[in-house]
């Protein structure tokens, strides 16, 4: 059984241009997948379909073997969005946020783990961009989900934190059997750490080992200017 399966998946925002077309891939339990592709390739869109926020216009997606149309156990999934609009004046502290999804012990662990312990009692909205990003990651993994979808989780993080996070994800996948899908523009980081690379630009251009990905990726970003009339 696969954790995520996309079969002939298509999607269009406006009913005219296809943002995603005929996307097929399967992810096994415990795999760490890096998703790359140029800006506007449809990566975020893909995540939002998997999470049920957008409905596919064609094909289907299965989570843990169940078609997302019928999928209910959303708490098996952790998610870090690319962008989060929190209402100004939202008063909760980091600790309060974590306590929504985890018990006291687990909060302590997470905080130590992600090095967010020294601002855990400050309000979320008063943190710097990178600090917020770490807290979101903390919330995503706090409830120990089996599948993690991370949309550019290291964007805005300093190098130390980037490496640290990537390492954590690597360990979660190898040691604890969590399945991780991570979108990133940091090719170095991706190619060095993931099990498989999914190159997307409207459709899947490459899906496999990182070693052989480089050619496709270069081609992909190289041809980017050529597809003026397409979606991206």
């Amino acid at each position: 059984m696969y954790v995520v399966e996309a079969e002939n998946l298509s999607f269009s925002y406006d009913g005219k241009v296809n943002t995603l077309e005929n996307v097929n891939f399967k992810v096994k339990k415990g795999e760490f997948i890096g998703i790359v592709g140029p800006n506007g390739a449809g990566k975020t869109t893909l995540f939002r379909i998997i999470l049920g926020f957008l409905k596919p216009t064609g094909g289907k997606v299965k989570l843990f073997g169940t078609d997302i149309k019928h999928f209910k156990e959303w708490n098996r999934i952790g998610y870090v969005p690319q962008k989060l609009n929190v209402e100004q004046n939202f008063p909760a502290t980091v600790r309060e946020l974590l306590s929504l999804v985890a018990g006291r012990e687990r909060i302590k662990d997470i905080a130590d783990f992600l090095h967010i312990d020294f601002y855990i009692d400050r309000q979320f909205l008063k943190l710097s961009g990178g600090q917020q990003q770490l807290v979101l990651l903390g919330m995503a993994i706090a409830s120990e989900p089996e599948l993690l979808l991370l949309d550019e989780p290291t964007a805005g993080l300093d190098i130390h934190a980037q490496m640290h996070i990537t390492q954590i994800l690597r360990e979660l996948s190898t040691n604890e059997g969590k399945t991780v899908l991570m979108i990133s523009h940091d090719l170095g980081l991706v190619l060095k750490n993931v099990d498989k690379v999914l190159c997307i630009n409207r459709s899947v251009h490459y899906y496999g080992e990182p070693d052989e990905a480089l050619d496709t990726i270069e081609e992909l970003f190289g041809i980017r200017r050529g597809i003026k009339n397409g979606t991206p």
């Binding site: 049920g52 929190v86 004046n89 939202f90 502290t93 946020l97 929504l100 999804v101 919330m139 989900p145």
Partner: protein, 266 residues
């Protein structure tokens, strides 16, 4: 204060306090759900409900409660299922309710009912049934907020994340607006249609200016509301002023204090 010995006045104060508590809590969540004006919207929509109840000749209080809850859920359907921006959906029922009231008043020219007395509440005259209604409703509302506290906080942080943490968005959103609609109907009872939204929004805003965590915001909001209701009623008696005006006046005063405190501290 001989007045305090009257049953219906005692009932009024009790109603005020109860409504103060639940509206203060509901307010915090509504503001953070970007529905600060849901109170204003629903109370004005309730105006349409009252007019309708008079047109149909049914009991206004119960009918308006049901009507307001339905309208609240309509707002939610528009926002959540139809992706109408929150502001828009609220402005719509606000306008729609009033327009309905105006049209009904225009069609059935003067059915002699003093519909306007609903515009300004009358907390000093509360019947036993109304008090019981308020107490029972408030207990239910309070229970709702206690039981679903965590889910509601998560929801105010991010709907998407809440969904992934197993919160049933549809259910929770509809429960929240239903509960808020109930609170609004009670607030209308206390301070009237055009001031009902103040009870929901001003204490919560004060709390959000001061609160250093979510829980503290909820507590401060409740505190501000309670103090305002009691002080407002006392002022009203002492200076012979309309209680709805003094209660909301007290709330605004406390907001002013919180605001000055923040302005000076930074």
């Amino acid at each position: 204060m001989e007045l305090l010995s009257y049953d219906f006045v005692q009932r009024g104060i009790l109603t005020g306090v109860t409504v103060g508590i639940v509206s203060a809590i509901a307010g915090v969540f509504l503001i953070l759900r970007r529905m600060s004006f849901l109170g204003a919207g629903l109370s004005h929509a309730a105006f349409g409900g009252i007019a309708l109840s008079m047109l149909l000749g049914v009991e206004p209080f119960l009918f308006t409660s049901i009507f307001t809850i339905l309208v609240g859920n309509l707002v939610q359907v528009l926002i959540y299922h139809r992706r109408v921006p929150g502001d828009a959906a609220i402005a719509l029922v606000f306008s729609g309710g009033v327009a309905l009231a105006v049209l009904i008043l225009g069609i059935v020219k003067g059915f002699g009912e003093y519909i306007f007395s609903y515009l300004f509440g009358n907390i000093l005259i509360v019947t036993r049934e109304e008090l019981y209604f308020s107490l029972v409703s408030s207990a239910l509302v309070l229970l709702f907020f206690i039981v679903f506290y965590k889910k509601l906080v998560l929801l105010s942080f991010s709907e998407e994340l809440a969904k992934l943490k197993g919160v049933n968005l549809t259910l929770m959103n509809h429960l929240l607006v239903s509960v808020s609609s109930l609170v609004i109907v009670m607030a209308i009872k206390a301070v009237g249609i055009i001031l009902a939204s103040s009870m929901i929004v001003i204490p919560a805003l004060t709390a959000l200016l001061m609160g250093s965590s979510f829980l503290s915001a909820v507590i401060v909001s409740t505190g501000v509301s309670l103090v305002s209701v009691v002080a407002g009623i006392a002022l009203a008696f002492y200076y012979d002023l309309p209680p709805s005006g003094t209660i909301v006046g007290a709330m605004i005063f406390l907001f002013g204090l919180a605001f000055l405190r923040r302005a000076f501290s930074s």
